[in-house]
Assembly symmetry: C2
Homo-oligomer: 329 residues x 2
DNA sequence: GCTGCCTGAACAACCGTTTGCGCAGCGGGC
DNA sequence: GCCCGCTGCGCAAACGGTTGTTCAGGCAGC
């Protein structure tokens, strides 16, 4: 502490907190304190401050998988806007598993995180329910909750699916299937519903399946099953780029090629998807903006707790690359 | 607090900390306290505990870019071993920029992080010097410091470069160039030195250049310059997969193809590198193990501050894929 | 010259835990 | 029957800041 080195006590606090302005402290006192603080390399003890003020300037962010590129962009966006407001990010990865989420969130709340960025919402989600019940400010990203009234920022899933289907229809495809993620995740059902609706308005009907996880392996498994069930399929809409990659694997496993026999469109436009073989046609949503918006929403909620929960939908874009082409014949 | 709901005071602390075992508290008292704590949904205030004990159970991890896939694997490894020991990860991304690093590290130290995982070391690195001077436990990963005696875990850069060069030599290549990262990063110089040495022991000599950042753009720029300077090049060794991707871009920009005219080998085996076009031949190091080892080293340092700084080298493996082939003619 | 006000800084309580120490009660040994 | 020791728990200080309140001194007004 600068105190012993000084002559004064905790006037330091007012100085270092900028309360000096209000005619409370002599300029030369302030200058002296600042000088000494600098010389001593004094650093605020955020812990002590947090204990007194009740604010830690820490927000917890929970994602399904830190190792996922798509999530990484979101994390970056959130980190940037949070650190601009002097907040730090406590990051946790749950493997999209409720038990893990429970433990991680509990740790974050123990750490007295001021708020949560929650990207692993299930529907229903007991962990999220607990958080909301405890009155912890939280904003969802990527997924929403149908039961809880919580702010959220997510891609416009419906618009995205529609873009994908319309692209394939425009290319001439008529037999489409959809690979969804876990069935208790909002984006899965939103994307599937829009897929069905877009097909229906063209007088068509498609098949679909659900992956247990958003991985290439699961995408491949579901695609294989669907291709077996609907052998004349020429187009696949996946709810996620990783599932799409798995679908391409499945197509090759059957001795076919993408896009020669079957076209595939992904969702997210994850990093490097333009470098894949084939380059992935996909629905782009700005990961950075998604994270940044979620963080902004959380900051606003922290500033104005009474604020009405808001859901912001990010507009998707169709990115046409090499994994889609007109049907073979 | 469970206290008012209870009859007792801070005997709760001893119960909840497991000190009850030592015959200090009656089993039924303990049971009652635990029951009430559960009913109240009592949760430790980690802030208050940290203030008293001086330990936050938080470790700061600073990476060049959270959006980088390679880093993501490391983060995951570190997160897993840390959370097993009840530590949380405070993550910061610096864009490999010293000013950012300074700010982020400062925030972490304010948050009283118990230790640091530092993956952005320059050589020299003023931020790191400050951390070491303040006696903050820190372990480096990916990069080391030539001046400071700090534990570190990194790939065996020399062995990796040697594998890459020997692979190209075995394929019949004789005119090789090396694309390094920033010149003030240990891995850059280690990999370059080993590149030169491996060539020298075959009686050869190669060209090299340095990228300012580990990005595709920089890789492309440096590759272009080197290919201009050494037009008969048939093999490129990049210090990083992203640089390698840039090199492939540069090759194509010149109207050539990889591996037809020029072979490329990367470093790291970042996620999805097997799906690129062409699939990347690269030096694999286990990102997960790297992160996990760094975390373990830090935990040991925290447990035994007097412990000698240790440098652990992770053995690399050559992964042969599609970006390397025998020279054209 | 005295009173009152204003300015600048010190005082002290408080945030929620941890932890060394003290204290009351009880049982056993002599 | 007395004393000692042990057992089980309460007391209170401390961690390092923040912040409402108090206090001392100087100056101006009457």
């Amino acid at each position: 502490m600068a105190r012993e080195a000084e002559v004064h006590v905790s006037t330091v606090s007012r100085v270092l907190n900028g309360q000096a302005a209000a005619g409370r402290i002599t300029p030369q006192t302030e200058a002296r304190i600042r000088a000494i603080a600098r010389d001593l390399g004094y650093r605020h003890n955020a812990i002590a401050r947090a204990l007194r003020t009740g604010r830690t300037l820490i927000v917890g962010m929970v994602v399904p998988d830190v190792g996922n590129l798509y999530q990484a962009g979101i994390t970056r966006g959130a980190g940037d806007v949070l650190s601009a407001d002097r907040y730090s990010l406590l990051l946790a990865s749950t493997d999209d598993d409720l038990a893990h989420a429970e433990a991680q969130v509990s740790a974050m709340l123990s750490a007295q995180a001021d708020g949560l960025l929650y990207g692993v919402a299930r529907d229903p989600d007991p962990v999220l329910e607990g958080v909301v019940r405890d009155g912890i400010p939280v904003v969802l990203f990527n997924r929403q909750s149908s039961e809880l009234s919580v702010p959220a920022v997510l891609p416009d899933d419906g618009a995205g699916s529609r873009l994908a289907v319309e692209h394939l229809l425009a290319l001439g495809h008529r037999r489409l299937i959809h690979i969804g993620g876990p069935a208790d995740v909002s984006s899965t059902v939103n994307r599937l519903e829009a897929f069905d609706a877009a097909l229906a308005s063209a007088g068509l009907e498609g098949g679909h399946g659900f992956a247990d996880r958003h991985t290439e392996e699961e995408g491949q498994r579901v695609a294989r099953e669907l291709l077996d069930a609907y052998p004349d399929t020429t187009g696949i809409v996946a709810a996620n780029d990783r599932l799409a990659l798995g679908a391409i694997d499945a197509i090759r496993q059957q001795g076919a090629e993408c896009p020669d026999q079957v076209s595939v469109v992904g969702f997210n436009d994850m990093p490097y998807s333009e470098r894949f073989d084939p380059p992935l046609t996909t629905i782009r949503i700005s990961q950075y903006e998604l994270g940044a918006n979620a963080a902004r929403l959380l900051l606003e909620t922290l500033a104005t707790p009474s604020r009405k929960p808001e859901t912001v939908l990010l507009p998707p874009t169709l990115v046409i690359r090499g994994s889609t082409a007109p049907p073979a014949a």
